[in-house]
């Protein structure tokens, strides 16, 4: 396995910047700006271009981690970053106004990454808001993307171990996808 580009997407305040910080082995690159939209997420800063971090997996496989801004007004960055990505960590904060709808919208925007490698969903901040439960997410995923294998985890973006578990399951899926593609190529 060579280099992988993994995207972290999801609504503002889901924990994308925090997750990349927790995972990265290098000093992350951040593009935080003063947040003026406190109604959407009550935090001091928000990402306006990208987050970047790196993590080594296995012996020497470098995984590049890119976080996107959560707000739709930055969707030109979504397009730019999506191009190189082979996998998606979709973070949804359980305390969002309507988290299942956020799941829906981001799967619609980034769902194509499943075909390029894989998707994993992480539900964050479930300590803040215990519901909806995971089965609601799983159910919705089955409805929007039937027949796809998309694991759902609860995870705290601040917790490196939990984020690594989710990332590893995504990378396993990406490798399987690559292997299948390889075999098909050889068979053809």
């Amino acid at each position: 396995m060579a280099e992988h580009v993994i995207l972290f997407a999801g609504p503002m305040g889901a924990g994308k910047t925090t997750a990349i910080e927790s995972l990265s082995e290098i000093e992350t690159i951040r593009t935080e700006a003063t947040n003026t939209d406190r109604e959407t997420a009550d935090k001091d800063t928000t990402t306006v271009a990208l987050d970047y971090g790196e993590i080594t997996v296995g012996d020497d496989d470098k995984v590049r981690l890119y976080g996107v801004p959560g707000q739709r007004r930055f969707n030109f960055m979504w397009t730019i970053l999506k191009e190189r990505a082979v996998g998606l960590v979709l973070l949804v904060n359980n305390d969002a106004a309507d988290p299942i709808r956020e799941l829906d919208e981001f799967l619609e925007e980034f769902g194509e990454l499943h075909e390029k490698g894989g998707i994993v969903v992480c539900v964050t901040r479930s300590d803040v808001a215990p519901t909806p439960y995971l089965d609601k997410y799983a159910e919705r995923i089955r409805e929007v993307m039937p027949g796809r294998m998309i694991p759902v985890f609860t995870a705290d973006a601040r917790n490196g171990d939990q984020m690594r578990t989710a990332l590893m399951s995504l990378i396993a899926n990406i490798e399987i996808t690559a292997m299948i593609a390889d075999n098909q190529e050889r068979a053809a």
């Binding site: 947040n35 003026t36 306006v48 801004p69 007004r73």
Partner: protein, 142 residues
């Protein structure tokens, strides 16, 4: 809730006074610089405060992109440890875009000039506009 609202600052793009200032500065800006095609003030996090020319949708889009650019410029400058990014220039075939932060404020000016202008002149008028904006916002706060 009976908390003091005045303590919490209204963000620039929702503050009618700041928007009025921004419009005033932009008017003066286009008066002194005929090669100015377009200009906008935006918050650091990409909300349009005021613009001259351009349609609404386009203005919003430019504000988002300028915000990303500004943050990327800052990130590069920070990584190279060369101090804060002073301005960013994109030189294209038929014109260029200059953007810079309003000094000491979480606000950015982005301006598009046609190629007839020299970079030096464009830079100096853009600096003046950004600094005028700073003065006005400062005086309001005082």
């Amino acid at each position: 809730m009976t908390e003091q609202v005045s303590a919490q600052q209204v963000s620039a793009h929702k503050d009618p006074v700041v928007i009025a200032f921004a419009n005033e500065v932009l008017d003066g800006f286009s008066d002194v610089c005929k090669s100015l095609r377009y200009a906008t003030f935006l918050t650091d996090d990409g909300f349009e405060v005021a613009s001259i020319a351009g349609d609404e949708k386009q203005n919003r889009r430019v504000a988002s992109m300028a915000s990303s650019m500004q943050a990327l410029g800052d990130a590069v400058a920070r990584d190279l440890r060369i101090g804060g990014a002073e301005y960013i220039i994109i030189a294209a075939e038929t014109g260029y875009v200059i953007q810079m932060r309003v000094p000491e404020h979480a606000m950015v000016l982005a301006a598009h000039f046609d190629a007839a202008e020299t970079v030096g002149k464009a830079l100096s008028v853009a600096r003046l506009a950004a600094s005028n904006m700073r003065t006005m916002v400062q005086e309001k706060a005082a």
